[in-house]
Symmetry: C2
Subunit: 414 residues, 2 copies
């Protein structure tokens, strides 16, 4: 099999992880309201316990739970209403046996009380008297001081991409400034004599530059600052010039096209000329994506991706996005978000290479079904229809209708 | 059951959809490179067919497929090499029987050729002679003119959130400017005498303002421009004033807290006072989230969300995010991205209300497992740990260990 001459995917991943050892994104401090989607650059430790006082989780009456013993609708427990806790204020009342205190959701539990009975289970025959139709257990409808978050506990882990739920937890703990990774600046370059800018009408034999937009979008989605350097013609000098310029600012360099086995392959030469260690991989046993190049120019990882848009997207998802996660020191950098799905038909594959197939996803009977999108390689229409990409590992010669596959999603989900 | 007095979730959804009939986000035109994550405001139609010329999908030799008839490794087909197609240039050669032309991936198929044989299956005993060890079918390794995208076909549907794959397809078709929905401006207001700003140290009885950050993040994630109006004290005048100001610019108003059944409920009064039709729903049969208020002040939808952070997030996910999608005229506005998962334990629920339970997700045996996060309502730590929220419909009295549930994800996935 011709694929055996190329580097296996697992080996490529190891090589990439090894090459990036000790290289990491810089960090910066941002306001909490700008931290969404960023990656935590360090563990964030709670500086205080939450809640800072015992408080009610319902609207009702603070009581001693023991006083509700045996209460029911038929035989309600009787309380005298000793006052009211105002929202946001210290509870100054000292609750005595047989007393109840009106308390709002979030109100501070008065001393002497150990539970709150919900408004719904009470009646007030007069302003001073309360009938409770249910028992409450000690601690019921109360969050005790320190029960939620302990001082010293980790509220945000280094490497975590910050979602709305983390924003909420950080706000609660008073973390108004967060140390996050600086966005990776990625230089994206398209190469090929056949390429024209997207606002131009391609002449005979020419096509528009798809990859710098599609790849740029994939990396923007991951929080990168993408700078598109435009289209470079297939010549060594042109490559060398543009790479030299891009290297002055970027932390990751992505070239698409120009990496096919062929006479005009100047990417490899230019990478090699620009700095050690240079090209580390030339070709991977992955379909689509075989002509992929990976190297390092000093501390800057460089990819040469295939010119085929689908192949470029697959390799971006499998290898380039992981580099961004590695630089941000994220856990499991090679594992993007994937969903298990049942395959809708047999799919053949050659053993000895990892295959990736674009699929549509639909739900059926409580599971995802993955429908491979068939068609010739390089079709734009295949890319446009794809919800994600499924993987056939190198040790398989195909997958059967009904097997469970993992589908890596192509777009961010809402 | 006390929940029967509140509006069922399905009815609340209908009410919201009905209330927003005829109200939509404005549109604007953006450059393709800024279109990621935006929602298409109109169908985009291909103005030309793709590819504009028949081209090779591999590096190899353009041939007449009939000339490879019977070719094998043992008995290769013999061709004379008649020239080379240069990348990005018009193929000027007219291929004759028995001739082959060198062609790169993406190169234009010369007249007379109908297939391309891959470089790998050929040998060149000398510069003018080619031996092909395989047959090729007509059209093999060729994308014919117009085969990918037809003039007049829809390449982007109105209501579609634009992902990298759409960006790629639009670039290919020369769509450098895209008509998208303007971001919805959302005013987020936190209310409650107990609230202090997140950079302040709460006094006894006070807590920090969590919701305006967590809700703001959820809506930012959906592409909204969120403006936090800060904390408003529980008084009718304070509410009226801040709502009046916020209404001058926002298209959606979200108030958290201040909607609990209680003495200080001024949200409802202020909404009613500010414009017709005013409050349309006060309380939903949803746990958590019962004290939710929905209304319309003229064309501006207004929500009063519960003060509990988890409840506020659940209702934001179930009702507020759908309003954003409705305004952008997205398909299936009430269905966010959810994944099927197997429940890891029995969960009880009261029939007659829709329950939402925060869960952690993990993968096991080719499927997602949803582990309900147990704990008292209102705990920040529950929110921080949650990967998503699962739904127990109103007609169920709980779900069993092993059942399949749908989990709506809380954070955007990479």
């Amino acid at each position: 099999m011709e694929f055996f001459q190329y580097m296996p995917l697992t080996e490529a991943r190891d090589l990439i992880a090894r090459s990036l050892t000790g290289i990491a994104a810089a960090s910066e401090t941002v306001d909490l309201e700008n931290a969404l989607g960023r990656v935590a650059a360090e563990d964030r430790i709670a500086g205080e316990s939450l809640p800072s006082f015992s408080r009610s989780t319902v609207d009702g009456f603070a009581v001693r739970s023991a006083d509700t013993f045996g209460a029911s609708e038929a035989v309600p427990a009787l309380f005298s209403i000793a006052g009211e806790v105002a929202m946001g204020e210290q509870a100054t009342i000292q609750l005595l046996a047989g007393q109840a205190v009106t308390i709002p959701t979030g109100g501070m539990l008065p001393a002497g009380a150990d539970a709150v009975i919900m408004l719904e289970y009470t009646e007030q025959p007069d302003a001073d008297t309360l009938l409770a139709a249910r028992t409450v257990a000690p601690g019921e409808n109360v969050v005790s001081q320190g029960e939620d978050i302990q001082t010293g506990s980790v509220i945000l882990e280094q490497g975590q991409r910050i979602g709305p739920q983390h924003i909420g937890a950080l706000a609660a703990c008073g973390c108004s400034r967060i140390v996050v990774c600086k966005p990776i600046e990625v230089a994206v370059i398209s190469s090929g004599d056949e390429l024209v800018a997207i606002d131009q009408s391609p002449g005979i034999g020419q096509i528009r530059d798809v990859n710098s937009y599609a790849l740029g979008a994939m990396l923007t989605q991951l929080g990168c600052v993408v700078r598109r350097w435009g289209i470079v013609k297939d010549s060594y000098e042109a490559f060398y010039d543009i790479l030299t310029k891009a290297l002055t600012t970027c932390q990751l360099l992505v070239i698409s096209g120009g990496s096919s086995v062929g006479a005009r392959d100047y990417t490899v030469k230019a990478i090699a000329a620009l700095g050690a260690p240079g090209v580390l991989m030339h070709g991977i046993a992955v379909k689509p994506g075989r002509p992929t190049v990976f190297g390092m120019i000093g501390a800057v990882p460089v990819f040469g991706l295939p010119g085929h848009p689908v192949a470029a997207m697959v390799v971006c998802q499998q290898l380039v996005k992981p580099v961004v996660r590695l630089l941000a020191r994220q856990k499991q950098p090679f594992a993007g978000f994937s969903v298990p799905a049942r395959l809708s038909r047999n799919v053949a594959s050659a053993p000895g290479r990892d295959d990736f197939i674009t699929v549509r996803l639909r739900k059926q009977g409580g599971e995802f079904v993955a429908e491979p999108i068939l068609g010739k390689s390089g079709l734009i229409s295949i890319m446009a229809q794809a919800d994600g990409v499924m993987h056939i590992p190198a040790d398989k010669s195909g997958l059967y209708d009904g097997e469970i596959v993992e589908v890596l999603l192509l777009k961010g989900q809402e």
